[in-house]
């Protein structure tokens, strides 16, 4: 089966992200004050797997092995059949 996966990776809560803070300040200078702003990375991939569960565990393994750094990141996976 062909699956479509979307992976979102963000910093664990409470961790400082100087890049996000800078962007938040720039928005404020433009007249858009916000209470919080987080930056995340999103990976969109297509893959073959025998089942939905198998696809999900493959993508989770990709996150643990490379896409995320478990010391600082949380990740979220969404999977749907695509073909």
């Amino acid at each position: 089966m062909q699956y479509h996966a979307e992976v979102t990776i963000g910093l664990k809560s409470g961790m400082l992200d100087p890049e996000a803070t800078t962007i938040q300040k720039a928005l404020e200078h433009l007249g858009f004050p916000t209470d919080s702003l987080e930056m995340q990375k999103r990976f969109v991939l297509e893959l073959d797997a025998p089942s939905r569960d198998a696809a999900e565990s493959l993508v989770a393994e990709m996150c643990r092995r490379l896409l995320a750094n478990p010391v600082i990141h949380n990740f979220d996976i969404e999977i749907e059949e695509s073909g």
């Binding site: 961790m15 100087p18 890049e19 800078t22 490379l66 750094n69 010391v71 600082i72």
Partner: protein, 230 residues
């Protein structure tokens, strides 16, 4: 004795390290391309640079290259491994050292001379320093903000595994002396066995008087001495 200086696409301190080892310290050192065999070496330096363009996260891609398994095996045998700057990022990404290196708290590339306090002087890399000695070695990085969870930090402290901290001239680890927001001003750490060192500052850029400091050379000298006694 022969030391390997790893080279990934985007490494750029490889030849500086090789020069210091061969011409200043006086040992054999080969540049080893990441696809080549890492055999017959007595120590490894993972040099600085921008391996793989810092894609994904600094050091993330290089850390997963098969040559890092050979580095791990050498470290398991007790041979010394030092990662400098991007090399430190590669060592934490590969899990050989704990923690993570994040974007500097003031998100800017910082290139400067800094003062470091030697907190551990018993490792194969730091045993020719005095404990508490302040040394001067330059930094050049954007992602040098050392982060580790509370339990990791207390383990590093209780096991005397913080090699260097950023300090002022008097040796105080103040927030003003911290160039990148690192937890507890940490600039360099050791693994549990003490034979892997990761540090953000560049000792190879402080190994000759003409460059303003020879403090960095002691790290390579100690490493070579350790190998000789191995």
């Amino acid at each position: 004795m022969k030391i390997a200086v790893l080279q990934f696409g985007g490494s750029n301190c490889d030849y500086d390290v090789q020069y210091v080892l061969t011409e200043v310290v006086g040992v054999d050192a080969d540049i080893v391309w990441y696809k080549d065999e890492l055999e017959g070496y007595d120590g490894v330096v993972v040099p600085g640079g921008f391996s793989y363009g810092d894609y994904l996260r600094a050091g993330a891609i290089a850390a997963r290259a098969p040559i890092m398994n050979s580095v791990r095996k050498m470290a398991d045998r007790g041979l010394p491994v030092v990662g400098i700057c991007n090399g430190f990022q590669i060592l934490v990404e590969s899990g050989l050292l704990p923690g993570a290196l994040m974007t500097n708290s003031y998100p800017k590339f910082r290139c400067d001379r800094v003062n470091l306090r030697v907190d551990n002087n018993t490792s194969p890399f730091t045993n020719s320093f005095k404990k508490g000695q302040v040394v001067r070695i330059p930094i050049a990085h954007m992602e040098g903000n050392y982060f580790a969870q509370e339990h990791t930090l207390s383990e590093l402290n209780s096991q005397d595994r913080v090699a260097f901290r950023y300090v002022d001239e008097q040796g105080n680890a103040t927030s003003e002396a911290n160039p990148n927001g690192s937890s507890e001003n940490i600039a360099g750490i050791l693994n549990g066995q003490g034979n892997i060192l990761g540090m953000m500052p560049h000792p190879e850029r402080a190994s000759e008087f003409i460059l303003g400091s020879k403090d960095g050379k002691k790290i390579f000298d100690s490493m070579v001495e350790y190998i000789s006694s191995f």
